[in-house]
């Protein structure tokens, strides 16, 4: 089945998920939407994030996608169930795959989570972990500067190393053995994080784990791309942000060819005068 897989994120950090999908599922056709005009989602109300999630999904549905991946931590935290019930295709976020992997790997049952301040404060990872295993200790550490450092391109810099060291220090004192990279930006500096965390600690990467789960979903439903497919990737964004090419390349691991800016307001109007307004949204 050569229908594409749809992936969306509030920005272009989700391209780190695309990178892993391309690696694991090279024959699949991928369509990505990054809502760069409305980033960041993390500071919005839950109601608004749900609305945005429905709108982003509606955009990707145009391409007749066979499966939807929410590559955004914020949306994964608050709107996976909503999208699962609203859409007729299978949906996965990034939190469930990562948490399952972390629970499999952690022997001490002491897990650290690093992410944006909004992600950590939402306790999304804690809740997901405790819904599966209640006796696991979870330690969250907001790392807002790491996002800025990755976006600034200081990915192999002493300043980034020192920043990682400073952020990890309180986590490492908790004797964790596993760290969840709870932000799409972090795979870009994974080696540096591993270096500072030390070899005893396993890092769980949402891109890799989500790609594995998607592979399993495609296998189970027998909707993989057929062998003759060459695989393709199309990237849409609602705004072309500053240094898009440079930052995009960093996330995807290669240049983002032919990224297309979508007039998203116009899409929503054409779609029916913002059908998903907060007032209509009783979910």
């Amino acid at each position: 089945m050569n229908k594409p897989i749809g992936i969306f994120d509030s920005g272009i950090g989700g391209l780190t998920v695309v990178k892993e999908l391309v690696k694991l599922l090279p024959k699949e056709n991928l369509v990505y939407f990054g809502d760069t005009a409305r980033i960041p989602y993390g500071t919005r109300s839950v109601k608004l994030i749900k609305q945005y999630a429905l709108e982003d999904a509606a955009f990707l549905e145009q391409f007749n996608i066979k499966i939807l991946i929410i590559a955004c931590n914020t949306v994964s935290a608050v709107a996976v169930d909503l999208l699962k019930s609203a859409l007729i295709i299978p949906v996965t976020g990034v939190i469930e795959p990562v948490v399952s992997a972390a629970l499999n790997i952690s022997k001490k049952k002491r897990i650290g989570v690093i992410g944006t301040t909004a992600t950590i404060n939402s306790q999304a990872y804690n809740k997901q972990i405790h819904s599966q295993e209640s006796d696991v200790l979870v330690y969250g550490q907001p790392c807002p500067l790491l996002i800025s450092l990755v976006e600034e391109g200081w990915v192999d810099d002493e300043i980034t190393r020192l920043t990682i060291r400073k952020y990890l220090e309180p986590l490492l004192q908790k004797e964790i053995d596993t760290i969840i990279l709870g932000c799409t930006h972090f795979p870009v500096i994974k080696e540096l994080i591993q270096d500072e965390a030390g070899p005893e600690i396993t890092l769980i990467d949402s891109g890799q784990e989500t790609a594995k789960v998607v592979k399993k979903m495609l296998d189970n439903m027998e909707i993989e791309a057929n062998n003759k497919s060459d695989g393709s990737f199309k990237c849409f964004v609602s705004d072309i942000p500053d240094k898009f090419d440079e930052v995009g390349t960093r996330f995807l691991g290669k240049p983002v060819i032919n990224a297309e800016r979508v007039d998203f307001d116009n899409f929503l109007i054409e779609k029916g005068e913002k059908i998903y307004t907060p007032l209509n949204l009783n979910v």
Copy 2:
């Protein structure tokens, strides 16, 4: 005249301007609005920034203010003239005062400007400088990480020092003698910036310069607070962001007492169903 002075910013960084106003004009009553729910303005379209500026000003006009200070670099860059023509009270931004000071001080006529990526890319300082003196060389340096570092509270940290050093390096090579602190966050780390820039370089602080200009305006119009006034400060924000107390204290130099969250959407509706919609805005 004991009417208050109104000050607004897209966030709470403008409290560094308030700090200088309190120092220079202790008898004045100050009302501040920080539009924390819609921050950052820097990435919005010019049309939307103008709309926001009008809305923020309308909020402060409720308090019968005698003068309006735009403590936001982004709004100062694109909407000072609009607000001057839309309002019947005197208005000042932060760019004009700073540029006048920098031109007075720079002997080499080589000026550096540091700010957010949006501020530097807007070329607002260059344009203002060149409108007054065309033969001055202006070098802009976006310093996005410094904003994150101040918000994270790492204001006296080796990481911040190294980051400043890295950002200033290309500027210092240009043999500048003056640096404009083109972001409300930077006064918080002014000493560290001065340290790294060296004693030959003069830093121009928008809070200080704007306070001086405001003092002059009040004097000229003879609308200073009378001598019996004790001076007061009231702070409104459209959202209470993460670590508001901590970050606010850092900007203001003392705790922000009784900050009040405004339901800004509701204010706009009550004001007349968003009278300043982009469609109505032909400016």
